[in-house]
């Protein structure tokens, strides 16, 4: 596999009904190309947490993936409120999700930590009032 396999999904903020759909499709794709069970497990968690962040906090966003021989890269870009303090947002237990979202069992402040634990590299760029981009790499060789 020398070429890059890539694809993207559009995410709609507030669309809790279809939440997880993109992640499930990505998981299906990774299963089809036989990426390996552990990689797929990690990617499923990363993608779903990222997807939920967009649905909870942003107006809209994109989830893009790029698969090469070496790595699976997942990039989530949103048009949202942005993150003022990224270090704080990465802290387990910190959440700005509204109460009703917390009542659904989301917004426990575990999402970013879950993403970080399930990847090899994670880069968060954010501009308040514009949006957030999270760039994640899962290495394919050390599973």
């Amino acid at each position: 596999m020398n070429r890059t396999i890539e694809g993207s999904f559009q995410l709609i903020g507030g669309d809790f009904t279809n939440a997880g759909e993109s992640s499930m499709q990505l998981k299906q794709k990774l299963t089809e190309i036989e990426l390996g069970k552990d990689i797929i497990k990690k990617a499923a968690v990363v993608a779903f947490e990222a997807e939920m962040n967009v649905i909870i906090h942003a107006a809209a966003g994109w989830l893009r993936y790029y698969i090469t021989k070496q790595e699976l890269r997942i990039v989530i870009e949103d048009m949202g409120p942005g993150i003022a303090d990224i270090e704080l947002a990465m802290k387990e237990g910190y959440s700005t999700a509204p109460e009703w979202v917390k009542n659904m069992g989301w917004g426990a402040g575990m999402g970013m930590a879950n993403m970080k634990r399930n990847c090899d590299e994670m880069k968060v760029d954010s501009v308040v009032g514009e949006g957030t981009t999270i760039d994640i790499i899962i290495n394919l060789n050390n599973s």
Binding site: F16, G20, K27, V45, E49, G105, M110
Partner: protein
Amino acid sequence: MKLQDLANKLFLHTVSCDKGLSKDVSGGYVSDLLSDVLANCAEGSVWITLQKHTNIVAVASLKNLTGIIIVGGRELEEEVLKQAEAKEVTIMTSPMSAFETAGMVYQLLHESKGSEESC
């Protein structure tokens, strides 16, 4: 142990994807925080929760869970059941509390593992 055996012994009411009852149950997890389940629930487990909105289907599907037990006699909306059918996620309900359900699941899994080892 098969999900069907567990469902029979706990008198669970299966509300979606009957065919999943033939799957093996390898463990259990109790949580109402979805990120906690994503982080810590092992593949092949039954997930005991009182959350009953549509996102539980995606969680179970993405984590390859064997099934979900909704406790406290809560009823699920048609939309959630449709989604569960489409994604082949087996959901069962019980009038028991999470505590009672988890206790029974734990004991049954423990017994079944013991009998498998002695065979």
